[in-house]
């Protein structure tokens, strides 16, 4: 903690030992031990006593000399905080005397001088809360504050904070304090104590001045401290802090970092400002990659660049059209292009004894599970062993043959799985799905529509193929087809805030004849498209739809999607939800609380707001009469709010453990899902163990949720331990079709994209939260709250909501022409370096790979070569490398 330079101490001791022999040559060293004090100390003590006496001398000349010498003594001895410096210790008995004398003195330079000394003495003497140090400092001479040492400054800063709070209460002036604050801040910033400077400014509510004081040497550390402290700050302060960080980055032209903060603040004005201020075309491309990963819509307009070609290139990056290319490059590099069949995932041969006996007859449920597993595992690879087998071999469509091995609504999921396999590859995806459009089976058409949505998920195109293709189907007769089209639109345009789609979908919500499931999926799709937008019109439409529901409809399991659709509109928007939650109080009591909880949890999702977590925990602590279901979303809400940062996350895991022990059944069912969300794609061992235990729970719904969550925490990790657990579960539950289905889904998730994908909505060093990704996860989890009637019923395609969160967990380096470039990088566990002195290592236990490379949860990468300079401070996703002009090949 202390940065007090040691040499000072040493110098002091030397000086003292030099002095003493000259003053007291008679005393022998042997006698020292007889007394408590050594010779030197004794001499010093006497010396100081003499000074104290002299100070009280009426002769100003003598006074001045005495004060001067006293100051000399103190200054040369300021030391660490572990021991009180000798001069101060010896002056302690005289503090009262000096204070009393000070009061009697006339205004004179000497009085100020004495005030200075008293201020320092008060550092150790002043009673708690007296703030005498500050008092004498203010009346003393305004000198260099640092000359009294670091400890003194720190103490002073503390007293200022207290004094400031007091004066604010009394509404007194604080100008004199602010002057001092400025001095201290400058001192701190100069001495590598950025956190202290920031803390002090926050205390005195004057963070704005920070921008003036930071310089090129310390702005990075300052901003790092600002950004990481933001998650622990209450109310508007966190936004303010980030705002300051943005301004500092902006001032020092650290645009990529500024952009990250702009995205965090969801401030498109700032994003645009970054673009307009940065002229470097390569940097702009990098910005586009960051925005694309974040998954927000951003239009590159003439203001940003007048050059049409550049505009097109930039827009294309934001549209994510090259994502599939990069992903496949990664897959080829890691050599996992070979398609995998569900059997490769189940690995039945590793299960002893209990291999399912005689599967002579196809089970529709198991085939459906295989469909999903196949889709998840081969997601984005463009080839698999069930849906895309080459047509020559089939002679009459063997693709069709797997499709028709699924029953009724299962066919919808099967057809849609083709979209998942061709994820992000719009061109070939649409071509392959096309044939299903001409089927005479409504389920197949619905699947094809959904598939189009999935293929286009996160990818945009000027022609808007998804809207063009799906638009005509949303008003069809058959409700399966309608749901397919509506959900497809939701997936393809999540976060797009597309006015055209809103106009098409909103009327369905008001349609009295529309079936409930169509309305529910419409609400979700609108929620996804307008995620985090606080759009009034959509909110109104959903609210009216909710009010129009009859009593019996409100009891339906799918109705829960309506409040969720509403909640998604306010995802992470905190206070903006308040008006709507007022309205929700007027709802039918069957849905009122559910709606309340959903809105609250969505609005504060990803904020880490401790108060909201407590509020939600409070809801869960109640023991209710039968039939109320709002505690489920409350439990999920805890996870949604607390997932923001690591500390809160750990605490939430512990709180959930308590809920598990004391909670009612409906809470216990939600707890595994909440754990799944907290550790998504991040298999923490303790959570894994808890879920493994719960997967054998006597309540089958708890067990199902735990199994699905095992899949979620291991999603895309290929984690061998979870895979083993699931294999054992598959033999344990071989007879229970529903549980086995869940096990299969979880197995598919663990091997998501053969281990190249992640479901984590956080990216960019776990700083940015992609709203669409979180919305997809939350929708899926809400559907899981009533597993039996939704996922195990005929709405299993809600599993495809997960596609919103799927992202390659890769680092792909590209050169200035955006072509893949292989460079060595070090990948290791990220280390938290906030507030640490010097330039500490940011990763530990690293290995050197060459890009493209996979990044696990909590991993961080850094370039292992000086040859290139990355244009993004965070090496994740696509990173443009520029050649280092100063690089010299080592000979």
């Amino acid at each position: 903690m202390t940065t007090d330079p040691n040499p000072k101490n040493d110098g002091n001791r030397e000086e003292a030992s030099l002095k003493v022999p000259s003053k007291d040559p008679k005393k022998k060293k042997d006698e020292k031990k007889e007394e408590d004090l050594s010779d030197e100390d004794l001499a010093l003590k006497q010396q100081l006593e003499l000074y104290v006496e002299r100070v009280q001398d009426p002769d100003p000349g003598l006074q001045k000399v005495a004060l001067e010498s006293m100051r000399q003594e103190i200054r040369t001895s300021t030391s660490s905080m572990t021991s009180v410096p000798k001069p101060l210790k010896f002056l302690r008995p005289h503090y009262g005397t000096l204070k009393a004398y000070y009061e009697t003195m006339n205004d004179s330079p000497e009085k100020k001088f004495l005030a200075d000394i008293l201020s320092v003495l008060a550092l150790t003497m002043s009673a708690e809360g007296e703030r005498e140090s500050l008092k004498y400092r203010l009346s003393g001479s305004v000198g260099d504050i640092g000359s009294w040492g670091h400890e003194y400054v720190r103490n002073l800063a503390g007293e200022i904070a207290q004094e400031f709070a007091k004066r604010q209460m009394e509404e007194a002036l604080v100008d004199d304090l602010m002057e001092l604050v400025t001095q201290i801040v400058v001192f701190h910033l100069k001495h590598n104590a950025e956190p202290e400077a920031v803390d002090l400014l926050m205390e005195v509510e004057d963070l704005d001045t920070l921008v003036e004081h930071v310089d090129a040497t310390n702005y990075k550390r300052t901003c790092l401290y600002l950004t990481s402290s933001a998650s622990y700050l209450p109310g508007p302060d966190d936004m303010l802090v980030l705002d300051i960080a943005y301004m500092i980055y902006f001032k020092f032209e650290e645009y990529p970092s500024a952009l990250r903060i702009a995205l965090y603040l969801d401030n498109m004005q700032y994003v645009k400002q970054v673009f307009t201020s940065c002229d470097d075309p390569l940097h702009r491309k990098q910005f586009c990659y960051i925005i694309a990963r974040h998954g927000v819509t951003f239009e590159i307009d003439e203001e940003i660049t007048a050059d049409e070609d550049e505009r097109e290139v930039l827009q294309e990056i934001i549209y994510n059209t090259k994502l599939t290319e990069g992903y496949l490059t990664l897959a080829r590099d890691i050599e996992v292009m070979e398609p995998k069949s569900p059997e490769d995932i189940y690995k039945v041969h590793l299960i002893d004894g209990r291999a399912s006996a005689g599967a002579s007859v196809d089970s529709a449920r198991q085939n459906l599970a295989a469909t999903f597993v196949n889709a998840f595992v081969n997601a984005g690879f463009g080839q698999d062993k069930l849906m895309t087998v080459p047509s020559e071999a089939s002679s009459g469509g063997s693709t069709g043959s797997w499709l028709f091995k699924n029953k009724e609504h299962g066919k919808a999921s099967a057809a849609a799985s083709l979209g998942m396999i061709l994820l992000w590859d719009v061109d070939s995806g649409l071509a392959q799905i096309d044939k299903y459009f001409h089927s005479n089976d409504n389920h197949v058409i619905a699947g094809a529509l959904l598939g189009v949505g999935i293929v286009n998920c996160g990818i945009k195109n000027d022609c808007d193929p998804a809207l063009a293709l799906l638009g005509d189907y949303i008003d069809k007769e058959d409700s399966t087809v309608r749901i397919g089209a509506i959900m497809g639109l939701g997936l393809a345009y999540a976060g797009a805030q597309n006015e055209q789609i809103r106009k098409k979908l909103s009327p369905i919500l008001g349609d009295a004849k529309a079936p409930l499931d169509v309305i529910a999926f419409t609400a979700i799709s609108l929620g996804l498209i307008y995620v985090g937008s606080c759009n009034e019109e959509v909110a109104q439409a959903i609210i009216f739809a909710l009010m129009d529901r009859s009593d019996s409809e409100l009891g339906e399991p799918l109705t829960r999607l309506l409040p969720l659709g509403l909640g998604l509109l306010y995802l992470g928007k905190q206070e903006s939800v308040e008006a709507t939650s007022e309205v929700s109080k007027t709802f039918n009591e069957k849905i009122r609380k559910y709606c309340d909880m959903t809105l609250l949890s969505c609005a504060y999702a990803g904020t880490g707001n401790v108060l909201k977590v407590q509020q939600l925990l409070g809801q869960c602590a109640q023991h209710l009469e039968k039939g109320e279901i709002h505690q489920g979303p409350a439990v999920l809400g805890i996870a949604m709010v607390a997932m923001a940062e690591e500390l809160g996350l750990e605490m939430a895991i512990r709180s959930l453990e308590h809920l598990l022990q004391y909670g009612e059944q409906n809470i216990r069912r939600a707890v595994p899902l909440a754990l799944g969300l907290l550790c998504i794609s991040n298999p923490k061992v303790n959570v894994m163990d808890t879920l493994s235990r719960l997967s054998h729970d006597t309540d089958s719904e708890v067990a199902m949720a735990a199994i699905i969550s095992l899949g979620l925490i291991g999603a895309g990790t290929n984690n061998a331990r979870i895979a083993g657990m699931l294999r054992n579960l598959s033999s344990y539950y071989y007879k229970e079709a529903s549980l086995l289905f869940c096990v299969r889904i979880a197995q598919g998730l663990v091997h998501l994209g053969k281990g190249l994908l992640t479901l984590a909505p956080y990216h960019s060093d776990r700083f940015l939260l992609s709203p669409a990704a979180l919305a997809g996860l939350v929708t899926f989890l809400h559907a899981c709250l009533d597993m039996k009637s939704i996922i195990l019923g005929k709405y299993h395609y809600v599993l495809y909501f997960l596609v919103l969160a799927m992202q390659p967990r890769m680092l792909m380096t590209v050169d200035e022409n955006l072509k893949a470039l292989s460079v060595p990088v070090r990948v290791g566990q990220a280390v938290d370096v906030v507030g640490q002195a010097g330039r500490p290592k940011t990763i530990t236990g690293f290995q050197t790979h060459s890009t493209p490379v996979l990044l696990a949860a909590g991993d961080r990468a850094e370039l292992a070569t000086e040859k290139y300079i990355p244009l993004s401070p965070i090496l994740e996703g696509f990173v443009i490398l520029r050649e280092n002009p100063e690089y010299r090949e080592d000979r």
Binding site: A357, G400, D434, S439, K735
Partner: protein, 500 residues
């Protein structure tokens, strides 16, 4: 006339001219030339909408150089197969049983695991099932009492229920009838039904069935249960003191495996069990003397039941104590040396056939490698023929009680069911049944919960710890058919048909 570029899959067709005076169908025909996709299959996307065939170009608003996207393929349209697959979920419950691969479990009605496990073991005997099916629904024969009749009926109904369901069955009716017939099974202790000895249940049930399942036309050898389970023993009773010797014969339903310190293996235990000492009055000595009784099997059953005598009455503690000693038992039991001389002679022939067959099979396998493919094919046909020959024989076996003329015993038996006990005394602990299915898989019936098991684990139930230990083992005779020399054994026929 604006020119546009059209993107189709990964291809881009630059500079396609649009004749705005013609309807879009003409444009689609242009694209047909380029891509080969028929116009009706083309979907052309213009800024979030589809281009309709009869749309007006001016409303569509195509600009010079605009990019259009076309979707569509000339691929075959997916058609549903004429005959859809059959799903397990759609099947009626009886057929789901087949798919699951084993029959249903039985609910425990309060300490009735002894009965459940007994029933599961006996249920695995197809001949018994078919005999029960033939049992007349009404009109019991006069010599049979009412309760025996009811118990037989209940057994029949329960067995059919077990075959028909794949969800656990509640044997309530059977239990009531059983308790009516044998009141000792209805004993209460502290107001709860007591745990009972499975062996007693087994014996009593078989006894009742043996009474009831006598064919009305009292021809010889029609006592079904006896034909299936009855073991004929001839004994030589010998008194060492007087030198007296007599012989007697008896029929039992199970062999006892006595467990003493020397017994480590089932075979030794059986030998022990066939020897006994008894004290009776010797007519020549005029007082009671020790007689040594040595028994030999004179007639083999189709199903050999072996009971491990694990429980004995401990007088001091006044309860049935259990011997935990480990006694190994084989999956394949040869009782040849327990047989009487005559029987051995009878067995010689069939045993030779069996040996030949086995060596032939072995020889076939070795020769296969040396012979060329043509010969191989012939041999393969042979196997098929033999397996086909085998199947009808099993079929006949299952239909009714096969007479010994069709199939001859070899003295070799295969383990098909094990009833085990876990716990320290006969009236406590837990009974479960381990039964081999027709497909060769083992299933553990733990009341209502059947779970598949590995064959290795079956032989691990031999005791010596607190794990389940075998109490009653049921072996099935391996027979050779007399009619054709190429016939296979019953036990093996299944394996063969699976292999081919």
């Amino acid at each position: 006339m604006p020119t546009v570029s059209v993107k189709w899959q990964k291809e881009v067709f630059p500079a396609v001219e649009i004749d705005t005076s013609q309807p879009p169908l003409v444009f689609k025909c242009q694209l047909y030339d380029l891509t080969g996709v028929p116009p009706e299959r083309q979907k052309i996307m213009v800024k979030g909408g589809l281009l309709k065939d009869d749309a007006d170009w001016s409303t569509v608003g195509v600009k010079e150089g605009q990019k259009l996207m076309m979707m569509g393929t000339a691929d075959e349209i997916v058609k549903a197969p004429e005959k859809g697959p059959v799903f397990m979920e759609d099947l009626p419950e009886e057929e789901q049983v087949v798919a699951v691969g084993h029959t249903a479990g039985l609910f425990n009605l309060g300490n009735t695991c002894y009965m459940n496990s007994t029933l599961q073991c006996l249920h695995s005997v197809p001949e018994l099932k078919s005999a029960l099916l033939k049992y007349p629904h009404s009109g019991r024969s006069n010599e049979l009492d009412q309760s025996s009749h009811l118990l037989t009926m209940a057994t029949r109904d329960l067995f059919t229920d077990l075959d028909r369901n794949f969800k656990p069955v509640t044997p309530m009716h059977f239990l009531t009838v059983l308790r009516k017939k044998y009141p000792q099974f209805g004993q209460l202790h502290n107001g709860v039904y007591m745990q009972q000895d499975a062996e007693e249940c087994w014996t009593q049930l078989l006894y009742t069935l043996s009474q009831s399942l006598k064919s009305p036309d009292s021809r010889e050898n029609q006592e079904t249960v006896k034909a299936l389970f009855g073991i004929d023993l001839v004994s030589r009773v010998h008194c060492a003191e007087s030198g007296e010797e007599s012989s007697e014969s008896e029929s039992v339903y199970s062999l006892k495996c006595h467990i003493s310190h020397e017994v480590n293996h089932l075979h030794e235990g059986l030998k022990h069990g066939l020897k006994s000492e008894l004290e009776k009055v010797s007519p020549s000595l005029g007082r009671s003397a020790i007689y040594l009784k040595e028994s030999r099997i004179s007639d083999l059953p189709r199903y050999l039941t072996v009971q491990f005598v694990r429980f004995f009455w401990k007088r001091e503690s006044n309860q049935k104590a259990k011997i935990l000693r480990k006694v190994d038992y084989p999956l394949e039991l040869d009782v040849y040396d327990l047989c009487s001389e005559e029987l051995r002679k009878n067995l010689e022939g069939p045993r030779k056939i069996l040996r030949d067959e086995e060596s032939k099979k072995f020889g076939l396998k070795t020769s296969e490698k040396n012979t060329d493919s043509k010969e191989n094919d012939v041999k393969m046909l042979d196997i098929e023929g033999s397996s086909n020959g085998g199947e009808p024989s099993t079929a006949t076996n299952q239909e009714g009680v096969p007479s010994d003329k069709q199939a001859q015993f070899t003295g070799i038996y295969d383990l098909i069911a094990v009833l085990t006990h876990k716990g320290r005394s006969a009236d406590s602990g837990h009974y479960v049944a381990w039964v081999k299915q027709d497909n060769g898989k083992w299933i553990l019936y733990d009341d209502d919960n059947p779970t598949p098991q590995r064959e290795e684990d079956i032989t691990k139930l031999s005791g010596g710890g607190d794990w389940h230990m075998a109490y009653i083992c049921m072996y099935k005779a391996r027979v050779v058919s007399d009619m054709s020399s190429s016939s296979s054994t019953v036990g093996k026929s299944v394996d063969l048909s699976e292999a081919s």
